[in-house]
């Protein structure tokens, strides 16, 4: 099941990247490619809408870390995660990466004050 990634612009100029499917060893490259396009715009302020992500593995998580470094490496760049399901939250907590990626319950919450 390939990961599909849609990108849209919110009213406040933040880019919302919405992957659908499994963010795993097979799907991670699609997310990286989509974020690489976004980072060409400066400053990259990005919300990853995780609502459509059914499952994440360590490679998928690694791709989020890679894009976080890419985005924070750009001046004014910032990344937020929104609407992770329970499996994604389990993985974030197990790896203690919830301290690095504070996540929001909804995309609307993530966009507020961004």
């Amino acid at each position: 099941m390939a990961l599909e990634v849609e990108t849209r612009q919110a009213e406040n100029g933040v880019t919302v990247v919405a992957p659908t499917g499994r963010l795993d060893v097979a799907g991670a490259p699609a997310l990286k490619d989509a974020i690489s396009e976004v980072v060409k715009n400066s400053p990259p302020r990005v919300v990853i809408d995780m609502e459509g992500v059914s499952f994440v593995d360590s490679t998928g998580l690694g791709s989020v870390i890679a894009v976080l470094k890419q985005i924070r490496g750009s001046e004014g760049g910032e990344l937020r995660l929104a609407a992770p399901n329970q499996q994604v939250r389990v993985v974030l907590e197990l790896t203690t990466l919830d301290r690095v990626f504070p996540y929001y319950a909804t995309v609307e919450e993530a966009l507020t004050g961004f």
Partner: protein, 139 residues
Amino acid sequence: MRTNHRRFEFTATFTDLDEGLDILHGSIQRLREAIGRPQDDRSLIFFETALGEIGSNVLTHGRPAGTERPVDYTLRFDGVTVEASLSDSGVPVHEHLTREMPAHDSEAGRGLAMARSLLDELGYEREGEVNKWRLVKRL
């Protein structure tokens, strides 16, 4: 495959990454439905996450170029404990088994540490040229 309310068994062989991952996740969904566990059942989420890690390792590193042998997969539930077995033809991986969780900024190297934490038992044996994995969790 045979199922009832208390027991479940599923076997498959595969060679391709996408196909293999679809089969692994599909088998957990079948188990979930067969034994009447909800989608957010935490023990099954733990088990599926560990299975995804070991399965992706097996599918990406367990089939070196020229390998004809497919990956063998079995999933069993005896009413109490779920157990998955996977075998592959990759190089021995003993030295990776005790790897600790890496630093936050590391982009790789978490899979086996995650699987160990999520399971009651993660077994690994090298038999001849074959790696044999055993994942066990009480549900």
